[in-house]
């Protein structure tokens, strides 16, 4: 399987309620809560595109946009 390349971690700040589930369970600790208790991607370069944050988010506030690694589709 081709390795996925991260395009963008889209976070809907209006929907995020700051529960911290994505922050805690991110395998590479890409996400953090900011001063307003909303999630931000502070280390997007570490993202391995597992999309567990997107799937676990109870507020459906995260979308991880990726691109297939070695071919353009």
């Amino acid at each position: 399987m081709a390795k996925k390349k991260l395009l963008e971690i889209m976070i809907n700040r209006d929907w995020c309620k700051g529960c911290g589930i994505c922050v805690q369970f991110c395998p590479t600790k890409v996400l953090e809560l900011d001063g307003r208790e909303k999630v931000v991607a502070v280390r997007p370069e570490d993202c391995i595109c597992c999309k567990m944050c997107e799937l676990r988010c109870p507020d459906l506030a995260i979308e991880v946009l990726t691109q297939e690694g070695d071919k353009d589709e």
């Binding site: 209006d14 929907w15 995020c16 309620k17 700051g18 529960c19 911290g20 589930i21 805690q24 369970f25 567990m52 799937l55 676990r56 988010c57 109870p58 507020d59 459906l60 506030a61 979308e63």
Partner: protein, 269 residues
């Protein structure tokens, strides 16, 4: 279609508390529907009353928000009149097995082609944290300040005994597994029950010292084990996850059609 196309985005952010497992179940469900590439005009979601039942407002399918515990009765009516539609019935633990316990066992007995999703957070969240028939003994709730003494139902065993032809269990933590189980349940012909353990940090977690949503998800990880795994063999006290029943049985709508055909034999409609 993208996941967002299956949502009624105008109603977001939703009304569930921060860290509520029901949101994750909604997420898993729309991902399952998206991966199956179902047409949203061919899905009906029927729900009852409670935090869990509010899910029907957030999905852009046909939706019915009905009486407490009676979602399966309404769903049976929908399915019998329009058997080509996919009928999804998400219910809370109280909705499904206290108020709607009778509908639940009889829908399972008939093996009607409906997907019942039990969003089990072991508490009545919406009305302020009363214990439910799935709380089990030793749980603190607003109606049990000195802990409960009632035994709980095992949804899987109950559904199995009542005759459901697909029975599975997962948790909000194991979201990929939940999505796969929901996909299988939706495609299964017959009554399918998927129990998904959910977390209510506001009422259950706080009272029972299970911490916040993150702490409760950690418990879902440590207290459950996959069917047939070594962990479950070594520690039978863990809650098993996976598919418990998957069998082919006569489906109710098809059998009903046969009866109609038999009754109409020799008549010019």
């Amino acid at each position: 279609m993208a996941v967002k196309d299956y949502l009624r985005e105008r109603f977001f952010p939703h009304m569930w508390c921060p860290g509520c497992g029901h949101g994750t179940i909604l997420n898993a469900l729309v991902h399952a529907v998206e991966e199956l590439e179902l047409n949203k005009n061919e899905i009906v979601m029927v729900s009852g009353i409670g935090c869990s039942a509010r899910i029907s407002g957030y999905v852009d399918f046909h939706s019915l928000h009905t009486l407490h515990g009676r979602a399966l009765a309404f769903a049976t009516g929908v399915k019998l009149s329009r058997p080509n539609l996919k009928v999804l019935v998400p219910m809370g633990d109280g909705d499904a097995l206290a108020i709607g316990g009778n509908h639940f066992i009889h829908a399972a007995r008939r093996n009607i082609d409906i997907t019942a999703i039990v969003m089990n957070n072991r508490i009545y969240g919406m009305t302020g944290g009363q214990f439910s028939p799935l709380s089990g003994p030793g749980v603190k709730a607003t109606t049990a300040p000195y802990t409960t003494i009632d035994n709980n139902f095992d949804v899987v065993e109950l559904a199995k005994a009542a005759g459901a032809s697909f029975v599975a269990r997962s948790t909000a933590y194991h979201v990929k597994e939940s999505t796969e189980l929901l996909k299988k349940a939706i495609l299964h012909k017959g009554f399918s029950v998927v129990e998904i353990l959910s977390q209510c940090p506001t009422h259950y977690g706080r009272k029972n010292k299970e911490g916040d949503a993150v702490g409760m998800l950690e418990l879902q990880k440590t207290n459950t084990a996959k069917l047939g795994s070594k962990a479950l063999e070594d520690n039978p006290g863990l809650i098993p996850r996976g598919i418990f029943v998957e069998k082919e049985c006569p489906e109710y709508c098809e059998e009903y059609d046969k009866i109609i055909a038999q009754a109409m034999k020799g008549r010019n409609s």
